[in-house]
């Protein structure tokens, strides 16, 4: 995990150094984007949601408490709720479209990338992809990931193991 060594502001009441928002945004942007790519399975959507996540984080930056967790975990929590909101609105949109234009074809495909690993990732569920993203790519520890996902540490570990096994099997099938 990369450590934020950027400009810090002092927090006199708590005698704790608090990173600035811009420093955190600069260092965590790729991580949040990576997480959202995995969660949504779509680079375009992930880009939109990344921007939205940082806008939200900007607005509620004063609520961030470094003692309760890392900035990365905090941002991933915001990113997750932003993605869930997106899924909800997408679901509503699809329902409307199904009601009024049943013959419209589904246009949105999963598009993480062109390679076999990306194709295998696309076959995982969003829940599986996000745990892989948080634990493997963003390198959050078990408790922090569990907190972001709102599940127990054990459930998080089980989900990760299952996702990686499934991904390995999919990759094996693709190679064969």
């Amino acid at each position: 995990m990369r450590v934020v060594n950027a400009v810090t502001t002092s927090w006199p009441a708590l005698r704790l150094d608090r990173p600035t928002f811009s420093a955190v945004a600069e260092s965590e942007l790729d991580a949040v984007h990576r997480y959202l790519v995995f969660l949504t399975g779509n680079r375009t959507v992930a880009e939109d949601l990344t921007g939205e996540t940082f806008e939200k984080a900007f607005r509620v930056w004063r609520r961030f408490d470094p003692r309760r967790g890392t900035a990365r975990a905090w941002l991933c929590g915001i990113a997750r709720s932003t993605a869930l909101d997106h899924f909800r609105s997408e679901e509503r949109r699809r329902r409307r479209e199904e009601r009024y234009a049943r013959d419209l074809p589904e246009t949105e495909d999963l598009a993480i990338g062109p390679g076999p690993l990306e194709a295998a990732l696309s076959l995982l569920s969003a829940a599986e992809r996000e745990v892989v993203a948080l634990r493997v790519l963003l390198e959050l520890d078990g408790p922090a990931t569990a907190r972001v996902l709102g599940i127990s540490t054990t459930a998080c570990s089980t989900r990760l193991s299952r996702a990686l096994k499934r991904l390995e099997e999919l990759m094996k099938d693709a190679r064969d």
């Binding site: 811009s22 984007h33 399975g41 990344t50 921007g51 909800r88 993480i112 569920s125 570990s157």
Partner: protein, 354 residues
């Protein structure tokens, strides 16, 4: 099943390496967009100033603080209450000094004395009819002394021309108690009271004086009226020219007056008897039995008892609040867990559909 970072990194080494090698960096236009956000204006809120405590931590701090506060309050309450008088003497007096109070019959005067003192006894007013009632609690050394003092109290009553209306003496283990009802002439009640108070240590005294002067005067007036009436009727009946019906009516009136006279005379005698003999309720209590009563307790013991009572009261209030609020607490908990479960289910559904 991998449980730690090392486990899954070792087990899926190749896969993890491939995943980390995926090009997932944020595009430049997103980076630029985020950079443009800049730095939020620093706004200092109460939340920033106060130490950020989770509700669990706050509860962990607040619960012992509340318990400590309650115990301290109970101890202070106990110490403050135990510092007062060892016993309280209630002096209830009906003023008999004349004036408006006499006509109305009674005036109450309540008082306490830190050390009950027989010398502070309100004496009956001479020349007036008064119902004088006193009670006295005297602590004696032990059961043997209790017997002696009971006998002595009987002698005191007799020596002042009075008598013992009732005696009730009971001993239990090392303790004992004697309840005596003494009737002593009002004129000598003060001397008798002082003698009785010297039988031991006075722990409580109670005095009640009811003025009967007006009652006696009224009864006497009524007796005179009735006698006059009877005499007049007698004179009238001596006449021979009275018609039969009038004679009969007068005879009936005379009989009724005589009956009334008998009744009023009886009441008057009873009132005079009441006014002539005072009632003194004497309770002799041995040291051990007295110790069982609050008045005889040590200060620490009383403080502990008062503190205990305070805590019990606080507990009762808390229990009452808990009983009253428990349905609301249950509803809130059900609402909270229900909402959380619904949100989790909704999230799972959305993620599986995505």
């Amino acid at each position: 099943m991998p449980a730690t970072d090392v486990d899954f990194e070792r087990e899926f080494e190749e896969l993890v390496r491939d995943l980390r090698a995926l090009p997932t960096a944020a595009p430049e236009h997103v980076r630029e967009h985020v950079r443009l956000l800049g730095e939020p204006a620093p706004t200092r809120t109460l939340r920033d100033v106060l130490p950020a405590l989770s509700w669990r931590r706050s509860l962990l701090v607040l619960a012992p603080v509340c318990v400590l506060g309650l115990v301290s309050a109970a101890l202070i309450h106990g110490l403050v209450n135990s510092g007062g008088s060892q016993s309280q003497a209630l002096v209830q007096q009906t003023s008999g000094s004349g004036g408006a109070a006499d006509k109305k019959g009674s005036t109450l005067e309540l008082g306490t004395s830190a050390t009950p003192n027989a010398r502070s006894l309100v004496t009956p007013t001479s020349g007036r009819f008064q119902d004088y009632e006193a009670s006295l609690t005297v602590r004696v050394k032990d059961v043997d002394t209790l017997h002696d003092r009971t006998a002595e109290a009987t002698q005191v009553a007799r020596s002042y021309g009075g008598f013992v209306a009732s005696v009730d003496e009971a001993t239990n283990g090392g303790g004992g108690q004697s309840d005596l009802l003494l009737r002593i002439p009002v004129a000598r009640v003060q001397e008798a009271y002082f003698r009785l108070a010297k039988l031991g240590t006075v722990t409580a005294q109670h005095l009640s004086i009811r003025d009967l002067d007006e009652v006696v005067k009224s009864q006497r007036r009524r007796i005179v009226q009735l006698r006059l009436s009877i005499a007049r009727i007698g004179q009238a009946l001596e006449s021979t020219s009275l018609p039969a019906d009038v004679r009969l009516r007068l005879e009936l009136q005379r009989d009724a007056a005589k009956q009334e006279l008998t009744r009023v005379t009886g009441s008057n005698k009873a009132t005079l008897r009441e006014a002539s003999l005072s009632r003194i309720s004497l309770t002799l209590i041995s040291q051990q039995a007295a110790a069982a009563k609050k008045g005889g307790m040590g200060r620490i013991e009383r403080a502990a008892r008062d503190a205990g009572s305070f805590l019990a009261g606080a507990g009762a209030v808390l229990l009452f609040l808990l009983i009253v609020l428990s349905p609301l607490i249950v509803l809130a908990a059900v609402g909270f867990w229900g909402t959380r479960a619904h949100r989790r289910r909704e999230e799972r559904r959305l993620l599986s559909a995505a």
